[in-house]
């Protein structure tokens, strides 16, 4: 197991490095619009790009970048994206991450219990009207895009009814944990949660339904366990094997921003910075955020794989000799 984990971690770094190299080359091949004032001197752009190091061949640029990264963990400075000219990209991005995590964390906190609860309930009431209603709601929640939900929630609950703020409250003014701030994120949290709740519900229902019809469940009942005891101790535990990794993945995804929802509800999160970095060709911000998400994906993949062994001890990793 230990060897397997080490091997996976090493492979993770190799994969990350390859992806980083590809991203660096691809983004730098896209021509950047160097900010050019009117009446520029003829060599303004040339000198500016020279100063930025853009005049060097790509491999030289990459070498300079790697040197800074591995010796000082220097990802460079933001130039245009992120609302902070010449600020280290790490600082720019880390400043934006809390708002994204804040909203996503709330979303997960409500999505998991509601999704699991609805899924279990639907499985237990399989093919009854309760199951049908839940299935229809799940289909609607999955089918309607998140931004449509966001617009509708904002229109009805903020504009028509006036129950909630249109925009997330400014944390510089109200702090993170004031009622003003918490209440202002209810709508974006709901917008983000619909899809997750639907996903958990559908998955849990499917898994639990399958387990409930297994032979060992009949055996458990035959041994004298009540339906509730058999469901909780045997069915639920077995059905969690594929669901648990999904929860881990969801937790890790709290750091990924939802551009549309963030824009609609004025959440100063990471989503808009990423898009902006591509639009304005802010090489450093783009690369940092891309690698940030790549790292999340790689770590999530590793944790999910490892989690199987913890959830179900019968699953073993590493492919060692029998």
């Amino acid at each position: 197991m230990g060897k397997y984990v080490i091997k996976r971690i090493l492979l993770m770094f190799v994969t990350g490095f390859i992806i980083m190299t590809m991203l660096f080359m691809m983004i730098r091949l896209m021509p950047v619009e160097t900010p050019t004032p009117p009446d520029m001197p003829v060599d303004y752009v040339a000198n500016l790009r020279k100063a930025y190091g853009y005049d060097e061949p790509l491999l030289v640029q990459y070498w300079i970048f790697l040197k800074g990264l591995f010796t000082e963990f220097d990802w460079g400075l933001a130039t245009k994206a992120g609302g902070s000219a010449y600020t280290p990209v790490t600082q720019v991005c880390l400043e934006k991450l809390p708002a994204t995590m804040y909203v996503n964390l709330f979303s997960i906190i409500i999505s998991i219990p509601i999704g699991l609860g609805l899924g279990i309930f639907a499985a237990l009431k399989k093919n009854k009207w309760q199951d049908q209603v839940i299935s229809i709601l799940v289909m609607v929640a999955i089918s309607v895009p998140g931004f449509v939900v966001a617009f509708l929630l904002q229109y009805f609950f903020s504009f028509k009814l006036g129950w909630f703020d249109f925009q997330m409250a400014a944390t510089s003014r109200y702090g993170w944990f004031s009622w003003k701030t918490i209440s202002s994120v209810i709508l974006p949290v709901l917008s983000l949660s619909f899809g997750s709740i639907a996903g958990f519900t559908r998955y849990t229902r499917a898994e639990l339904t399958e387990v409930l019809t297994s032979e060992f469940m009949a055996l458990a009942r035959a041994k004298g366990l009540t339906r509730t005891q058999a469901t909780i101790h045997h069915a639920l535990r077995n059905s969690m094997v594929p669901i648990f990794p999904m929860i881990i993945g969801e937790f890790i995804s709290i750091m990924s921003g939802s551009l549309i929802v963030e824009q609609i509800f004025g959440i100063p999160g990471i989503g808009s910075v990423y898009l902006q970095s591509i639009n304005v060709r802010d090489y450093n911000v783009f690369l940092f955020l891309s690698m940030f998400y790549v790292a999340i994906g790689l770590v999530a993949g590793l944790l999910v794989d490892l989690s199987y062994g913890f959830v179900d001890p019968r699953i073993r990793m590493g492919g060692g000799k029998a």
Binding site: D39, A46, L48, Y54, Y86, T87, Y155, S172, I264, S272
Partner: protein, 804 residues
């Protein structure tokens, strides 16, 4: 009861203490009402460092928290403007008569501008500064602040974006440019139409690194052509299969020949009239091979730079050579301009300010490559206000809060701020990208203004709270009129060369019902037949509109008479038929044949529906006018999306595009540059540096190229600049060029852009009618119908209705 009394007494005492702590200039007490103006913007400022800001989003904080040496304000009747001292203690004093020859040489005053015997004018200006001006923390602002900040904005090691405000233009400081570029690499360019800065000589080398750039931004650089031919990603293409021909690139073969040096013996070849075309072809083949072939078309005419050395470094305040700004008293600076300038231009240029707070500026230095940059102006604690308001809260992508700066001198000086000005105590700016969210918040009373889109105008256009704000931009349809290029672009049975027929283009002009266009497709725009609308000011001292002068009126009279909508379908009908007859009977290769269809490609920026609707409008307009002519059912406009459509058109890669130009309201003369400079204009086929125009000036016919006419009017030393020619002469030239351009119909003006917005019941603007330059007056003149508390109370008992 006693407890309440004690508590009240404590609170009163506390309030008094707090007030006392607010500073000596505080005029407001805690009982005073708050008047907050709440607005929204869609973009976040990236920096509000006065040396580095770029966009209008960047400038929003500075617009409230800084003050110029001079300021535009309403005149007494609020129907015009005047420019008054703000950070300056008085008018600038022209002391050019004291300018000595040695001084002129040291401070970079142009030889033409210096006159012996104390006869120089408009080049040496003394400015007295207000002694009570200070930063928001009370630190005084004196002459040292101005000189230090000017040195920083021009510092060569910083290469600040806004350095150009002081090294170029009509009020450029002497030697400012030399200081700015001092020590930097020096390049020359060698593309057609571009002028070398190397004594007029141009050179080319296969082996020296080059920098390829468009005027609007660099695209590719760092390699010599040799690098690409031999060692880089496209070497195979250059060596074996150039542009899919199966042959090596001609430039590659030329390089191999060794005629122009070798890699071990590189040579610079002087570009002459004999070899220029050949060299340009080599450069273009580089574009074709290195960039995507479609994309590269738009790079024709780009500039190719090569390194020719380094600019000489100079000291900011050297004994022999210095930048034209000098501290001449604790609160006085003297400015030397490179060229002669008028007092108005001088004040206008210094209506924005460049000062920065030294300690904060330097504490936030950071190294970017070989440049020193600063993060000044990226956070509340990295910035210092000194204008009527100060920045008090900023959260990226969220809010900007600005409050009254009690240390601003103007609040204590009735000569600066009158009784009814600056009622607004706070400005709350939210960053909200979605216009629909902004509109909902406005309708709920949470914002005090909101811009309207076309669809919103249908709902709120009749509201008493709607305001229309024109701007200087004119949107036009621009034609490709180059016969050869159109022949190249057309195919069998599909003609394009009819676009070169002036009657066809004029017919298009008359076929457009511009009023209808504006009403159905725009919000707040108005029909226009010429490139400049009423906002452009011809006489800066009186505020007289260019369109209101006899010359300005004459252009419209000559062009359309009293049909200011420019719509006459019968005239268009006749002209279309005439164009058809002329083209069909032409003998020129590629001319229209009777069986041909006319396919006009209209390139647009993106696939937004508005472009479909606009093009549909043009198609229907043409269809209506050609009905019954031989062109009926033969003309088709085809939309193509091209994000680089401006560049594409500059290379002749489209038949029609939308173009929009606008300029400084106070300088209509400068706008000619956009139509007469081949590197900027979009009317492919027009040769402004070759085609001439004769204008009768004071009884004498003067002939120049269009380009030379625009240069002659230019503020920085042109033959007919404001400092050298009278107003009537300048107007005569401006109107003659404008009319001549319009009568060529290479572009067809459609609408003058404008914005429509709703203003909340909480606030009133300074004037009801839009005033050129001043607009509605801005925050200075806002008056409030409700304080913040009153507005909250009003909202709790009333439903807002902005449809009435």
């Amino acid at each position: 009861m006693n407890k309440k009394l004690v508590a009240s007494t404590i609170m009163l005492c506390s309030s008094a203490l707090l007030l006392g702590a607010c500073g000596c200039n505080s005029k407001k007490d805690s009982g005073e009402k708050k008047y907050t103006y709440r607005t929204a913007v869609s973009g976040n400022p990236n920096t509000w460092n006065p040396h580095e800001w770029e966009t209008s989003d960047d400038s929003i904080i500075m617009s409230f928290t800084t003050a110029g040496l001079y300021e535009f304000v309403f005149n007494e009747n609020r129907n015009g403007y005047e420019i008054v001292p703000e950070m300056a203690a008085g008018e600038p004093v022209d002391i050019s008569s004291t300018l000595t020859k040695a001084e002129a040489a040291r401070y970079g005053v142009d030889k033409d501008a210096y006159k012996d015997g104390g006869k120089s004018t408009g080049v040496k200006w003394a400015i007295d500064l207000r002694e009570d001006a200070c930063w928001e923390d009370g630190t005084p602002i004196d002459a040292d602040t101005y000189v230090y900040s000017m040195e920083r904005i021009l510092a060569p090691e910083m290469m600040n974006y806004r350095g150009n405000s002081y090294y170029s233009g009509s009020v450029a400081l002497g030697n400012a440019y030399d200081y700015y570029v001092g020590g930097h690499e020096k390049y020359a360019n060698i593309a057609t139409g571009a002028k070398s800065d190397d004594g007029g000589k141009k050179y080319f080398s296969f082996f020296e690194p080059v920098v390829m750039s468009k005027q609007a931004g660099a695209s590719y650089e760092g390699y010599s052509l040799y690098d690409w031919y031999k060692d880089d990603l496209r070497a195979d293409e250059f060596q074996k299969n150039y542009n899919g021909t199966g042959e090596p690139a001609p430039g590659y073969l030329k390089m191999l020949s060794g005629d122009w040096g070798t890699v071990n013996n590189p040579q610079f070849i002087e570009v002459t009239s004999e070899n220029q075309k050949e060299i340009e072809e080599y450069i273009n083949e580089w574009f074709v091979a290195v960039l995507d072939s479609t994309y590269s078309k738009s790079y024709e005419g780009s500039w190719l730079f090569y390194h020719v050395g380094r600019n000489e470094k100079m000291d900011f305040d050297g004994a022999d050579k210095a930048v034209g700004i000098v501290k001449t008293g604790d609160y006085q600076i003297t400015i030397y301009t490179a060229a002669e300038t008028t007092a108005f231009d001088f004040k206008y240029n210094f209506s924005s300010n460049w000062i920065v707070k030294k300690d904060i500026y330097e504490a936030n230095y950071t190294q970017v490559g070989s440049l020193t940059k600063t993060t000044y102006g990226t956070a509340v604690d990295k910035y210092m206000s000194y204008g009527p308001y100060k920045l008090t809260d900023y959260q990226k992508d969220k809010i900007i809060h600005i409050s009254r700066n009690e240390n601003y001198f103007g609040y204590d000086d009735p000569d600066v701020i009158k009784e009814d000005e600056y009622q607004c105590t706070d400005i709350d700016i939210q960053i909200i990208p979605s216009q629909s969210t902004q509109l909902m918040m406005f309708l709920k009373g949470e914002l005090d203004d909101v811009s309207l889109q076309r669809e919103d105008v249908n709902t709120y256009g009749a509201s008493e709270r709607v305001r229309y704000s024109p701007n200087t931009y004119t949107s036009k349809v621009t034609f490709n009129t180059d016969w050869d290029k159109l022949v190249e672009r057309q195919s069998n049975g599909q003609n394009k060369t009819i676009l070169t027929n002036i009657n066809f283009r004029e017919a298009f002009f008359w076929s457009l019902n511009r009023k209808n266009f504006c009403q159905t497709l725009t919000a707040g725009s108005s029909p226009i037949v010429v490139p400049m609308n009423d906002l452009y000011v011809a006489d800066v001292t009186t505020g007289e509109s260019y369109r209101g002068t006899k010359q300005g009126k004459n252009v419209i009279e000559q062009l359309v008479g009293d049909n200011t909508n420019g719509y006459d379908v019968n005239k268009a009908h006749a002209l279309f038929q005439q164009a058809y007859d002329e083209e069909v009977s032409s003998s020129r290769a590629g001319h229209l044949k009777a069986s041909d269809d006319i396919i006009i490609e209209f390139k647009v920026y993106n696939s937004e529906d508005i472009y479909n609707r606009m093009i549909d409008f043009f198609q229907k307009s043409i269809d209506a006018a050609i009905k019954g002519t031989d062109l009926e059912d033969k003309v088709l406009i085809q939309k193509t999306v091209d994000p680089n459509y401006y560049d594409t058109m500059q290379a002749g890669g489209s038949d029609l595009i939308y173009t929009t130009w606008g300029g400084a309201q106070l300088n209509p003369y400068g706008l000619l540059d956009c139509y007469c400079d081949s590197s900027r204009m979009f009317e492919y086929g027009f040769k402004p540096d070759v085609d001439t125009l004769t204008i009768n000036i004071n009884g004498q016919n003067v002939t120049k190229t269009y380009y030379d006419w625009s240069v002659a009017l230019d503020g920085s030393g042109g033959e007919y600049s404001a400092a050298k020619a009278d107003k009537e002469t300048r107007l005569t030239i401006l109107s003659a060029v404008e009319l001549a351009l319009c009568q060529q119909y290479r572009f067809v003006s459609v609408y003058a852009r404008g914005d429509a917005y709703l203003l909340s019941y909480k606030v009133e603007e300074g004037v009801d009618e839009y005033v050129p330059v001043m607009g509605y007056g801005g925050i200075r003149y806002y008056s409030f119908n409700y304080s913040d508390a009153e507005w909250e109370e009003y909202l709790s008992t009333h439903n807002l209705d902005y449809k009435i």
